[in-house]
Symmetry: C3
Amino acid sequence: MKQFTSVHDVQDVAALVNEALELKQSPYAHKSLGQNKTLGLIFMNPSLRTRLSTQKAGMNLGMNVMVMNLDKEGWALETRDGVIMDGTTVEHIREAAAVMGQYCDIIGIRSFPKLQDRNEDYSEDLLNKFIELTGVPIVSLESATRHPLQSLADLVTIKEQAAAGKRPKVVLSWAPHIKPIPHCVANSFAEWMQQADVELVITNPEGYDLAEEFTKGAQVLHNQDEALQDADFVYVKNWSSYEQYGQVLTDGEGWMITNEKLALTNNAKVMHCLPVRRGLELSHEVLDGPNSLVIEQANNRLYAAQAVLKRMLESL
Amino acid sequence: MKQFTSVHDVQDVAALVNEALELKQSPYAHKSLGQNKTLGLIFMNPSLRTRLSTQKAGMNLGMNVMVMNLDKEGWALETRDGVIMDGTTVEHIREAAAVMGQYCDIIGIRSFPKLQDRNEDYSEDLLNKFIELTGVPIVSLESATRHPLQSLADLVTIKEQAAAGKRPKVVLSWAPHIKPIPHCVANSFAEWMQQADVELVITNPEGYDLAEEFTKGAQVLHNQDEALQDADFVYVKNWSSYEQYGQVLTDGEGWMITNEKLALTNNAKVMHCLPVRRGLELSHEVLDGPNSLVIEQANNRLYAAQAVLKRMLESL
Amino acid sequence: MKQFTSVHDVQDVAALVNEALELKQSPYAHKSLGQNKTLGLIFMNPSLRTRLSTQKAGMNLGMNVMVMNLDKEGWALETRDGVIMDGTTVEHIREAAAVMGQYCDIIGIRSFPKLQDRNEDYSEDLLNKFIELTGVPIVSLESATRHPLQSLADLVTIKEQAAAGKRPKVVLSWAPHIKPIPHCVANSFAEWMQQADVELVITNPEGYDLAEEFTKGAQVLHNQDEALQDADFVYVKNWSSYEQYGQVLTDGEGWMITNEKLALTNNAKVMHCLPVRRGLELSHEVLDGPNSLVIEQANNRLYAAQAVLKRMLESL
């Protein structure tokens, strides 16, 4: 595997899920694979789960791991080509990325969208420059439009929890928020579910439809109650508007998943990528109740990352 | 050992001190013990000694260590239960702690008190939530009311330096400061000394008596010169008022330990947990003189942390 | 090797360059050398290349590496002796350095000059205090007046790239910048080149002559075109005025190295320590063209650091 930035980088999704589940059984079985290999984890934004799970995944495989909060520890980065750098940016991504490629065998990179210019965000400029300029395999630790390690962990969790012999109904349900939030997790989840043996339904208020590129083939309903009928899994996530790019259009009253909403489902398991705003995105009762899978999802982040890094190490 | 947050978590204090001293002789004798075990060190506040000594202690035992400055690298944390998170906090400690427990076999956590509400600080809410929610052994790296790794290192140092055959007189002496400082180090030192074979005397200006919970059984004198008589060890530390909670009541003129003050003692060794404000808390002449143990105390932080981690690894 | 702060700490420069080149061939040949040894990397300022390359160099030698951004993670540091610390600084370097020396077998330290008081900067007070107080070997990760790991990597790069059988002409060429920049890289490069088998020419506008201590023996020309004649290597770097200390005296129009300027040389290879401001210090066309060595220089930072650390480990 030469890069991992979306589900399209994976030849056989089910095999990768199985590999993650095998690693969960034997996390230290491949410690010689990463000997004398260096994993660089580059963060432009905060991270808790992604940072810790990917760092540990590398160490479980025997790698040396270097974590760099580039926004705080490094130099202010210029990403535009051809400009005269006589302002506040100190280093160009052309040099920064190429240099990091000298020191690392695999690089993970996190960079959030600015949510101001849709074309700019959806061009995935920074991620693509890292792929182009570092010369080493790149793992997305969440980019402007996708969060594939999260989605892989989500699919692993669904695989573990789904009832045997039934194709589960999975509902991606928009949730309220007070701030404009990126589409990455929702886009990515939709994209991965389409590659899995599940029935995907997406529900969100009008004006919040995700880009068709990610949802094509899935049913999109603006009536949440209808969508929740017989759901086996409800994946809760806020995102800002794609059409009115980066805007918050509604306070989303009535869209928070509660026990009352859960009653509409097939005793659905509830998922969220975290961090979650309690009482706003998802009710306390659900998060603290028996249907929540959020901590198990976070746990599976480790094995998702480890499966991806293992594949990359094998193809170095 | 399932947690290490105060002296009350230690069954046999003298045995733990001895274990630290043995580890000082052979720091790498137990490198297989920590194989494939992960130590997470979580900081909500700055740290130099605690961070470096505990990180190294973990590595000496063969552990993988992940350091996380949660205040800077992670998400703004909500600690109150039941609130609607529609403000500035992004992640609730219920999720954050549970998630970190998934990735770590042992977690160390540092969180200072706010010094505004005594009941809030002394409830040790954050530390207790980590114990409750992570599901793994917790080491306090300094909490709102105690700093047990420091106290253990202090006791190790006293054990090393005390004259043979004599029960040493140890004086905890309040020192001047310009800012309100937590009680943790002083509370914790008092608590540990009561469990050791020493005579503890505490001296501080009126209005600065520590909580009885920590000092019960020790002599408390408001006359420093009287307290210093025949002292074998003087432990210097500032703290703000407990009674008038978090207040600075006096500039403390005359309370700084100088060579003149030392002349009242039995050529006492002088201790401080560091960082120390020179010329304010403790005189340059004493810090640079032959009676200072402050660097040796810092050195022993490593073996104190290693002894605690070793015990925890053994009981995993 | 007991310290590495300038070329004067190196007995045989050519041998150290050769050692770096050997390590480039076999970076993992000495992994047992650093077993149970701890490298502390202390940063007072941002770092990308130095941080990652030195961290990796330590790991390649089997060391445990602890990285500490002391300006962000630790306590505000006092460096003046004898002051009463009743202001904003919380810890004195006397304690901080001594403590770090307890936990580390080798310490690397980066601290930039303030560019306000020439005598203060050129006294290298902080670096010297670390050497005096830690009691362990100190590697400069860039100090107020020198950047020796960079210079060693530069010399390694020149050795690799120089045509056989010819003593190369190396031109250190001042470049424009919008802000006052330290002299470290330029001083250090000049100092190292004087110890190497090269012809060094320095060119800068009037008012920008470096301190004689570093340039003595080299030709200094204020006419860049004249200097560039027949150059085999052009080392591009901005620095502020030494005479009018820390000042920017000119916008430097016409001093940026372009393909047109390169035409004056012997098809010179172009070097820069990075980070570089594109279009201001150095043209895009040169940086993206075949004559640029900047990424290879960064690559060689790893082996320079590894050679130095190896020597230090051998003399522990």
